[in-house]
């Protein structure tokens, strides 16, 4: 039994790695055929640059800074999104009052609020936080509303007939009932937050002339605008992708752990 699980997991990892490996080989072969003067990034060069950036280029610090912003912004969005989402999901009056304004802000891309964010909050962390929380807020909110509104009404009635006070129904029925949707919303939110922070740092970096804000996005901007190091940019891209993958897997694992009744 255990062995079967292990082999199937091994197979899954093998499958997941095959395509990236083939792409790497193709990339390397293609790059080796380019003239020496070409700025095309080489896989081997990229690996070397990666070691260099980690050991003395401040890649880890930049990553930690970006992640710190994403996590903080995510929790701001989570708190706001869950609270407003529960209110909207359980009260028609609140939903009808808030829905139009939320639906008209939702399509405005996080980057579109960047000019205002920079003017109000400057080019530092608070600006980045504003954009990240803005981006992460909508997935949390929309999914929480959805989760709350599709809770079986009978469950609420059942709780009431068992003498559960009104406010306790919230914590004992509404919250656990909406949890699957909240977690799904959180996973999506974390994804867009990570996307937004890189873009925000890139743009804030441009505005502040490569100084100031820090983070991995700004690091990329510096490699792009000042030292023109394609290999380093590719390293940053790979790191961003890997972190996104890791975040997604952590959330999926949390979903399985927190929702044992779903499997």
């Amino acid at each position: 039994m255990n062995k079967i699980i292990q082999t199937s997991r091994g197979l899954a990892i093998l499958r997941a790695c095959t395509l990236p490996f083939i792409l790497l080989v193709v990339w390397q072969l293609w790059a080796m055929r380019q003239p020496a003067s070409s700025p095309a990034p080489l896989p081997l060069q990229v690996v070397l640059t990666a070691f260099e950036l980690v050991s003395k280029g401040g890649l880890v610090q930049a990553l930690v800074q970006s992640l710190g912003r994403v996590v903080t912004g995510f929790f701001i969005a989570l708190a706001l999104g869950v609270v407003i989402g529960i209110l909207m999901g359980s009260s028609r009056a609140v939903r009808e009052s808030l829905d139009p304004i939320i639906e008209s802000f939702r399509p405005i891309a996080p980057m579109a609020i960047l000019p205002i964010a920079i003017l109000w909050f400057g080019t530092g962390t608070s600006s980045a936080l504003a954009i990240v929380s803005y981006a992460a807020f909508f997935p949390v909110l929309v999914n929480t509303v959805h989760g709350v509104s599709r809770i079986d009404r009978k469950l609420v009635l059942a709780a009431q007939t068992m003498g559960v006070p009104r406010l306790t129904v919230l914590t004992r029925v509404i919250l656990p009932g909406a949890l699957p949707s909240v977690l799904l919303g959180s996973r999506l939110a974390m994804g867009v937050a990570w996307t937004a922070i890189i873009a925000a740092e890139l743009a804030v970096g441009a505005k502040s002339g490569g100084g100031g804000s820090g983070g991995i996005g700004q690091m990329m901007f510096v490699f792009y605008a000042y030292s023109i190091n394609l290999n380093a940019i590719v390293v940053c891209m790979v790191v961003v992708g890997l972190v996104a993958l890791l975040i997604d897997r952590i959330f999926r694992a949390a979903e399985i752990r927190l929702l044992p009744w779903r499997n």
Binding site: D152, K154, L155, L157, A158, A159, Q160, T161, M162, G163, V164, P165, T168, R172, V173, P176, G177, L179, L259, P260, W261
Partner: protein, 284 residues
């Protein structure tokens, strides 16, 4: 009438009606009208009637989940104003919390329960164990509802209803979703758990909704027959079958007589509901 305070009358419904207003059209529908019914303590009442006769509406009003448009509902002489742990409800589709295990579901209300009578954690554990055993779900304590069969879920709902210790059991077609065999078994079990072998004062008062006439006759002390458009009480039939009832009860002459009597009360309406006429469809 000095005996009035001594009366075992548990539930008193007088002149109860309920109308709903459709949210879009504003059209008013009378769901039930002119319901007068006194239910004694320890009595098992079944309500039968065609769909749409307002059976569930009456149950919901007694539970306090709906308020009557006119009339009064009194329990132990005091008007019913809202839901409470003294009137437990077992819903048609069980309404178990899907994120809770069997034992968590059974213990769901125990933290709140009857005001002024909180259980200690040990008492809660004890009660959960007791009622899980009573409905024969031992071994399934850690399972989630989706891992259980329909019959097992129904037992969890029953255990949860009883564990919470209500005075009045309100059951809305609890066996409706089960296959015929499981139903027959659970009907007998339900009567055992309700306490048909116990003296009357130890039994709970029960209101049980069904559209199965045989089920109603098998379970009830009295069967309330309803008709629809608008929903109202057509007749209240006392069932002359001894307790304790078992599989053999169905073979008694009175059983068939009561089933026939109730069917003759609602057959016209049942035929009308399916669009046929009684004369054409009548058997040879």
């Amino acid at each position: 009438m000095t005996e009035q305070t001594q009366s075992p009358c548990k539930l008193h419904l007088q002149g109860v009606s309920k109308s709903f207003i459709a949210p879009r059209t504003g059209e008013k529908t009378l769901a039930v009208t002119d319901v007068n019914l006194d239910i004694d303590s320890g009595e098992f009442i079944c309500i039968v009637g065609p769909s749409g006769c307002g059976k569930s509406t009456i149950l919901n009003m007694v539970a306090g989940l709906d308020t009557p448009s006119t009339g009064t509902i009194e329990k132990d002489g005091a008007p019913v104003t809202g839901p409470g742990a003294d009137r437990g409800v077992m819903f048609q589709d069980y309404a178990l919390m899907p994120w809770q295990t069997v034992e968590q579901n059974v213990g769901f209300g125990l933290r709140f329960g009857t005001p002024g009578k909180p259980f200690t954690p040990e008492q809660r554990e004890e009660r959960i164990r007791h009622f899980i055993k009573l409905v024969r779900l031992n071994g399934a304590e850690k399972k989630y509802p989706h891992q259980l069969s329909g019959g097992m879920r129904q037992r969890v709902a029953l255990a949860r209803l009883l564990a919470n210790g209500p005075d009045i059991l309100l059951m809305d077609e609890p066996l409706g979703a089960l296959d015929a065999q499981t139903r027959l078994i659970l009907q007998v079990e339900l009567l055992q758990i309700w306490g048909q072998t116990a003296p009357r004062e130890q039994r709970k008062t029960a209101i049980f909704i069904t559209h199965d006439i045989e089920e109603a006759v098998f379970l009830a002390d009295r069967v309330v027959v309803m008709s629809s458009h608008p929903g109202r009480i057509r007749a209240v039939i006392p069932i002359e079958l001894p307790r304790d009832r078992s599989e053999h009860t169905r073979a008694e002459p009175n059983f068939g007589r009561h089933v026939d009597q109730i069917w003759s009360l609602i057959r016209d309406e049942a035929y009308r509901a399916i669009g046929g006429s009684e004369e054409v469809a009548a058997p040879v």
